[in-house]
């Protein structure tokens, strides 16, 4: 058994994106011993990818904006599946969190009065997104990173956490992981753990997420016995690049379609006219002539079908590809080159133009882009208490993308950055309150620790076995083709079976080389997480027999009012990991699912929706 380095702290925060950093800052401010653990270097987390801004009802541009309006926008965007209390706290506290960033050195773009400038975004009634050009996420993470460093938060970089450990009462008491550079194992005993591990996108073939987004936090929560909600709610962007490889997954902003870009299939046909649903027929143009008039003058014609809601566009692209009329690399063509002059394109879409030119040598003023639905964000996640972010496992907290409930079944752009700040802070507070309420020090079972280490090093022991990259590849293909943006019951059932096969294959992978910075081995240890979250999403998608927000069922195309009143809650029943520490990774087959009623919104908040109705 290799030696296991050990540390004793009060709070471990896993993940150093926006939520993790904010939680660590808060817990540190309470005088606790905080360890911030992250899988990459500090400051590289996926938060840097956020471009648009952070939504907060500051009212700097529209004084009539306030938290009630933001709350209502968020709930409606989430198709009312949100945890109302989270949405309320988020809308109420986001402005203070943004201003706080400024006190820590962030430099947002300014209004003429010298206040924070806010921009418009889809789904938000008022211009509400505090931003810095198109690199708001970078500003946010850098500000928090510098604040955390100044406050003396201890950071453990490039450390992959494998499992949470429990004490005899079932509370979280520690964790085991390994340093990626050396491959040596490390354990923490801790009174509380904050999960801030972000998303799960790496289980799909086309994703805007990085290699880190393997759903480690989601999976560790499941294995620890925590409840998960809404795992079927995954946001796909209809137009992510599928080719060239160098830009696969990079999103093509809706602005391209708004500025005249059209979708064509392999035959060159502008196919969106074939997919106008009756619900939108009245407001959508039914001929190219009419649609083309709209761009210059929005009152001259009805909207082009390319600008239908995201799910409709994605569904249409999906149908074209499945009918064999897709582009050579499995997408469709998004063509703005033949529609607008090169000069116009460069002027109106400068960052799109430069990004593709620089990264891919694709000149969007000359050639069409190959695009397709791309996995972007998971709304579902660990079920938490809104005020404290406490999960259903004592000592375990979750914030950011890994937590579920805040965004319901669909997230509005800009709400993720403010989510990180609001609930990152609350997680730090929640964990600190919890720690302060406990006496004595945490203790974990050495045997459980060793078991985790044994399981993690098993791929080195196997003489022969499969390449983990092959398993990952097949998992991504499975999720992309069967649990993608448009889902049907039969395909989902097929995916369940394939996932079980993949789980068996993942248990038998072999890796070459040593443990030092070995990406093959790192991937082998990520596979259980990816399989677990994939299973949750697939299972949730089977049970939610309706279409709502980010979850679209071809066989149940409409929302179902009854299902709109429940969360699908998934868990590994007690007796698995919850008691007695880690006893092997629970099989994905042991995950159960039950519908549970949504928390009931108080009347005064409900009234916000009623008053809007008239």
């Amino acid at each position: 058994m290799p030696e296991i380095e050990s540390h004793d702290v009060d709070v471990v925060v896993i993940g150093a994106g926006g939520a993790g950093l904010r939680a660590a800052i808060e817990a540190k401010a309470r005088g606790l011993r905080v360890a911030l653990v992250c899988k990459s270097l500090l400051g590289k987390a996926h938060t840097v990818m956020a471009e648009g801004g952070a939504a907060a009802a500051l009212g700097n541009v529209y004084p009539e904006d306030n938290w009630q309006v933001h709350f209502r926008d968020t709930m409606r965007g989430g198709k009312m599946l949100n945890n109302w209390r989270m949405a309320q706290l988020h809308a109420q506290e986001a402005p203070d969190r943004i201003r706080e960033l400024e006190e820590w050195g962030a430099l947002f773009d300014r209004t003429k009065d010298g206040l924070i400038l806010q921009r418009d975004f889809g789904g938000h009634r008022y211009a509400r997104l505090a931003h810095i050009g198109d690199r708001t996420g970078l500003e946010l993470i850098r500000t928090l990173q510098q604040k955390a460093v100044a406050d003396g938060v201890e950071v453990f970089m490039e450390l992959k956490v494998l499992r949470l450990l429990h004490d005899d009462s079932g509370a979280v008491a520690g964790l085991v992981g390994y340093w990626r550079p050396s491959g040596s194992f490390v354990s923490f005993t801790t009174k509380a753990v904050v999960l801030a591990t972000g998303g799960v996108g790496k289980s799909w073939k086309y994703t805007s997420n990085s290699w880190e987004s393997t759903g480690d936090g989601h999976a560790m929560a499941v294995w620890a016995g925590a409840d998960m909600i809404d795992m079927e709610a995954v946001q796909f962007h209809p137009t992510g690049m599928v080719w060239p490889l160098s830009v696969r997954g990079i999103l093509v902003t809706e602005g391209v379609r708004g500025d005249g870009g059209v979708l064509r299939n392999a035959e060159g046909r502008r196919f969106m006219f074939d997919y106008i649903p009756p619900m939108f027929a009245a407001e959508t143009a039914d001929s190219e002539e009419e649609a083309d008039k709209w761009y210059a003058d929005h009152s001259a014609g009805r909207r082009p079908p390319e600008l239908l809601p995201r799910d409709e566009v994605a569904r249409s692209i999906n149908s074209e590809v499945k009918a064999g009329r897709g582009s050579p690399h499995g997408g469709v063509f998004l063509d703005i080159a033949s529609r607008r002059s090169a000069e116009d394109i460069r002027r109106r879409l400068p960052s799109m133009y430069h990004q593709f030119k620089e990264l891919a040598g694709v000149d969007i003023t000359v050639e069409a882009m190959e695009v397709g639905p791309t996995c972007h964000y998971i709304m579902g996640g660990v079920r938490v208490d809104a005020d404290t972010t406490a999960t259903t496992v004592p000592g375990l907290f979750a914030a950011g993308e890994v937590a579920g409930g805040m965004h319901g079944s669909n997230r509005l752009g800009g709400n993720s950055l403010s989510d990180l700040l609001v609930f990152g802070r609350r997680a730090g507070m929640g964990a600190a309150d919890y720690v302060e309420g406990r006496s004595g020090s945490a203790s974990v079972d050495r045997a459980a620790m060793e078991e985790v280490v044994r399981a993690a090093t098993a791929p080195f022991e196997r003489e022969s076995g499969e390449n983990p990259y092959d398993v990952q590849h097949d998992l991504q293909e499975t999720m992309q083709s069967l649990v993608g943006i448009i889902r049907t019951g039969s395909e989902l059932e097929e995916a369940m079976g394939k996932l079980e096969e993949l789980e068996e294959r993942a248990a038998n992978v072999a890796v070459a080389g040593g443990p030092q910075y070995n990406p093959g081995w790192n991937l082998a240890t990520d596979l259980p997480s990816m399989l677990t979250v994939s299973r949750c999403t697939t299972q949730g998608a089977i049970h939610r027999t309706e279409s709502r927000g980010g979850h679209t069922r071809d066989d149940y195309p409409a929302p179902d009012a009854e299902l709109g009143k429940v969360n699908f809650v998934q868990r590994v029943p007690a007796g698995g990991a919850r008691s007695g520490g880690a006893v092997g990774t629970p099989s994905i087959r042991s995950i159960t699912i039950t519908p549970e009623p949504l928390p009931v919104m108080p009347d005064e908040l409900q009234a916000l929706f009623d008053e809007e109705a008239h």
Partner: protein, 274 residues
């Protein structure tokens, strides 16, 4: 078991093995072209300027040729030895050798301490480093932290001095419109001196010290709108400081060459008068 308080990280041993490829550079492109060109041009300029400064003749085209053209190397000509007509009057009496040597200290100092030329000669002459990602040629390196290189910090005084010379050379260029004995006119020589003065102005105002003094040193632009506007105007010029540095350097030598050729009677300064 350690607690966070105990985490005293083991120091990284300096000078330790880094472990990468043990070669001075892995660059495959012709990175040496730039230093070679810099060395060639700068050496040629220094050689020419030294010769031109010591030769102490043919630097002024005067009334005998109906012109008033002075080489920038010799302006302002303030010593006794200056050619009649080339100077406003003898101010310095104790200087016995070429007046150019007295003058060239200032432009030379300005260029020697210039942020752009520093880059150019540190790279090409001193090889610290010869090119990016190519190992530098020195066992130890202290940069500009000690004498004599700490003197680079006087750049802004040479900048001020350079401004005085720019004014004088501008006056020379204006004077070059005079054609003694004929009236006002315009010749190739006039154009040469005008272009020379313009390039020198561009080199000066695009200087980093200038940009700092005019507004860059401010913390809050919104309290100093005019200085912000000046800074904003200078910034794009500053981006081309290297271009102006080379153009003005080459042209100042060409100006001297032209005046010299005319003064020595080798060529005629074509022009017209009003």
């Amino acid at each position: 078991m350690t607690t966070l308080e105990d985490v005293s990280t083991t120091p990284v041993v300096l000078g330790g093995v880094r472990g990468g490829p043990p070669v001075p550079t892995l660059r495959k492109d012709r990175w040496w072209i730039q230093p070679v060109v810099t060395v060639t041009v700068l050496t040629a300029f220094v050689a020419y300027a030294t010769w031109a400064a010591f030769v102490n003749k043919d630097y002024y085209v005067g009334a005998t040729m109906h012109r008033d053209l002075i080489s920038p190397f010799y302006s302002p000509c303030l010593t006794e030895s200056c050619v009649p007509g080339s100077h406003p009057g003898t101010i310095i009496t104790w200087w016995q050798i070429s007046p150019a040597l007295l003058i060239l200290i200032f432009p030379l100092g300005f260029r020697l301490t210039c942020y752009y030329y520093r880059k150019a000669y540190y790279r090409s002459f001193w090889w610290a480093p010869p090119a990016c990602a190519v190992a530098d040629a020195h066992g130890s390196y202290k940069g500009e932290s000690r004498f004599p290189l700490i003197m680079q910090n006087v750049h802004r005084y040479f900048f001020y001095a350079g401004l005085i010379f720019n004014v004088l050379l501008t006056i020379d260029a204006v004077m070059a419109f005079r054609q003694p004995g004929v009236g006002l006119g315009f010749s190739v020589g006039t154009a040469v001196l005008c272009v020379n003065a313009c390039l020198l102005w561009l080199y000066s105002v695009s200087c980093h010290a200038c940009r700092h003094i005019c507004g860059g040193g401010l913390k809050k632009f919104s309290d100093h709108r005019i200085r912000h506007r000046i800074w904003k105007t200078l910034t794009p010029l500053n981006a081309h400081h290297m271009v102006f540095a080379w153009m003005s350097l080459v042209f100042v030598a060409l100006t001297d060459v032209y005046v010299r050729l005319v003064a020595s009677g080798t060529i005629h300064d074509y022009g017209f008068h009003f």
